[in-house]
């Protein structure tokens, strides 16, 4: 029983990170129908910015978190403006190849400047390094921090999307771009804003991974990125609560699979779930099946 609870706690920490990344995927897909492969590298860059802030500039955790979110926001908007905007009306495959191109560009530029070596985050001190024991269950401050920050960010996101004007515009554009434009919504700004939100969340995920796992490298984004995308598909792509749910479910499943001795197969299980979901319920857990109109 204790082991079960412990696994769930570990799963929630991992799942929070997947959920944060998945939100960016799902929002961008919802609004421009593009699998933004570069998203996982924004997360990687976020981790690097956090590293620079914490170990080179000596900033605390919260300022570093904000700095990394801010930098990733700017990066996300820049990428959208330079690489994706000219392709707004191009074929889907052209946009997807561009996304892969941007992803490779970010990975290898980071590798060029920061070298391919693994970097380690500074070890946590004071209350950040504490662990709490309840019976046999161990919870670290980092895990609490990850869970709390993720929840705060998700609530903020929900408020932005549901309550503000720009959030309304986002929902409108993702429903029908042309109609939204006719209603006087500036589609370009709205798409930029979506990228900004998604990238900020990815940046936060990057620094949280940094403090949780300690080591970062230029290719760290690839696999978590794919899994986060699986999470987004699992919950129903384009649906924000779906991505949150998917992230947690995928995180918990992964921790369970490796916790019970099949750690070598944990990635395979995630992808098997993906294929299963796509076959059984392609619209995702929270999605609605829509027929194609001729």
């Amino acid at each position: 029983m204790e082991q079960l609870i412990q696994q769930i706690i570990n799963g929630i920490s991992l799942g929070s990170i997947y959920a944060l990344i998945a939100l960016g995927y799902t929002m961008v897909y919802g609004i421009i129908k593009l699998i933004n492969f570069a998203h996982c590298d924004i997360y990687m860059i976020g981790a690097y910015i956090g590293y620079v802030c914490m170990s080179k500039l000596g900033l605390g955790f919260l300022p570093s978190l904000l700095a990394s979110m801010l930098f990733c926001t700017v990066l996300g908007i820049t990428i959208e403006r330079i690489a994706y905007r000219p392709l707004r009306n191009a074929t889907r495959i052209a946009a997807l190849i561009t996304a892969i191109g941007v992803s490779l560009f970010l990975e290898y530029t980071t590798m060029f400047f920061a070298s391919a070596n693994v970097r380690t985050y500074p070890s946590m001190t004071g209350f950040m390094a504490k662990t709490y024991k309840i019976g046999d269950i161990v919870i670290s401050t980092q895990q609490i921090l990850i869970a709390v920050i993720t929840v705060i960010l998700m609530v903020l996101l929900q408020v932005i999307v549901k309550k503000t004007k720009i959030g309304k515009a986002m929902r409108a554009v993702s429903m029908d771009k042309d109609a939204a434009e006719l209603m006087g919504i500036n589609v370009d700004t709205t798409i930029s804003f979506t990228f900004a939100l998604g990238s900020a969340l990815a940046g936060a995920a990057g620094i949280l991974v940094g403090i949780y796992y300690n080591s970062i490298n230029p290719l760290m984004g690839v696999l978590p990125g794919l899994k986060a995308f699986v999470a987004a598909v699992f919950g129903g792509i384009g649906i924000i609560p779906g991505a949150m749910l998917g992230g947690y479910v995928i995180g918990i499943i992964e921790v369970f699979v490796s916790g019970y001795g099949y750690s070598m197969y944990r990635d395979a299980v995630v992808f098997a779930i993906l294929i299963l979901i796509l076959i059984v319920r392609p619209a995702g857990l929270l999605g609605k099946n829509t027929g194609e109109k001729v």
Partner: protein
């Protein structure tokens, strides 16, 4: 009419023999030395991979991100067979078995997943190839896990390469000229309309998938036989992307485009071999720039053909690919 056809046919045969003879001459006079030979083999393997992926993605319109998975099945099957039977017969059996196994997996995976469309299919095939890779890593007793297989006997030389490359191109070209190929192209243009016209869309999508996987299996077998050494990580997501990039760069729906892009990319990447990071940065930049300024790829869906050389004396031929 017969005369013209015969003339075309003879010209094609002469062109094919000439291509073979020129490279053979360069190899035997050692102008293509051992180092350049590796590039030559890479080009040939990439041509097979790109042309077969073009059948799936370019002509049938089914977006696949898992071609490296099929390639790895061919590579492992061939390697395991030739390591036990290190003769030329063993090699040929290995290539054949590798291709058949890849086609079989293509069939098994294709049947359920091909009901998906567009991006969903891309992600499903990506997941499939990752699963194949992870299974190879974990089948320690057979595949030696993540460390991979070593000392695979080498049987690949230029004549064999030529046979398989020319065979693949001819197979896919002739398929596309047949009614089956036309059905595939119809699916790409409009799946619903094709279905309304009485085309069994699932059948043709699976057919394209199986033939594509079969050829990818051949490419993998050749790879393992030439480079001595294979490991699961060679056939990851990046490899699938590499193949897709060749196809898109050359033009979706252009066989000659795929060939051209395979040669071009191999030459560029050989040139930048000593600066791996800069090479990848450039590669990424070229990718983005081409997609922004020429999203249909170098040739679009047009083909370079010999008869056009005759008629116009120009490099680019129009109207052969699509009619």
């Amino acid at each position: 009419m017969r005369g013209i056809l015969n003339k075309q046919l003879t010209q094609r045969i002469i062109f094919m023999l000439l291509a073979y003879a020129i490279v053979q001459l360069l190899v035997s006079t050692n102008i293509i030395n051992a180092y350049l030979q590796a590039t030559l083999v890479t080009i040939c393997i990439n041509i097979i991979l790109a042309v077969s992926l073009n059948l799936i993605t370019g002509f049938t319109g089914q977006f696949s991100l898992g071609h490296a998975g099929f390639m790895s099945i061919g590579a492992y099957t061939c390697a395991l067979i030739t390591m036990r039977v290190p003769t030329i017969a063993g090699f040929l059996a290995g290539v054949l078995m590798g291709a058949v196994m890849a086609a079989l997996v293509g069939f098994l995976v294709g049947l359920p997943t091909l009901r998906l469309r567009g991006d969903y299919l891309a992600i499903a095939t990506l997941g499939m190839s990752e699963i194949i890779r992870i299974v190879f890593i974990n089948l320690d007793s057979i595949t030696n896990g993540a460390a991979g297989l070593n000392d695979i006997p080498r049987f690949v030389n230029w004549p064999w390469l030529y046979v398989f490359v020319a065979g693949t191109i001819l197979l896919i070209r002739n398929l596309l000229k047949s009614s089956h190929g036309r059905a595939c192209i119809a699916i790409r243009e409009d799946e619903i309309a094709a279905e309304a016209m009485g085309i069994n869309t699932t059948k043709y999508k699976v057919l394209a998938f199986i033939i594509g996987a079969f050829c990818a299996g051949i490419a993998g077998a050749l790879y393992s036989s030439y480079f001595y050494y294979i490991k699961p990580d060679l056939f990851g997501f990046l490899k699938s992307v590499d193949i897709l990039v060749i196809v898109v760069l050359g033009g979706l729906g252009s066989i000659s485009g795929s060939v051209l892009a395979a040669v071009l990319l191999a030459v560029v990447s050989t040139y930048f071999q000593s600066f791996p990071e800069i090479r990848m940065i450039l590669y990424a930049l070229i990718l983005v720039i081409i997609m922004i300024f020429r999203p249909q790829g170098l040739l679009g869906s047009k083909e370079i053909s010999i008869s056009m050389f005759n008629r116009m004396g120009k490099l680019f031929a129009f109207g052969k690919g699509e009619k």
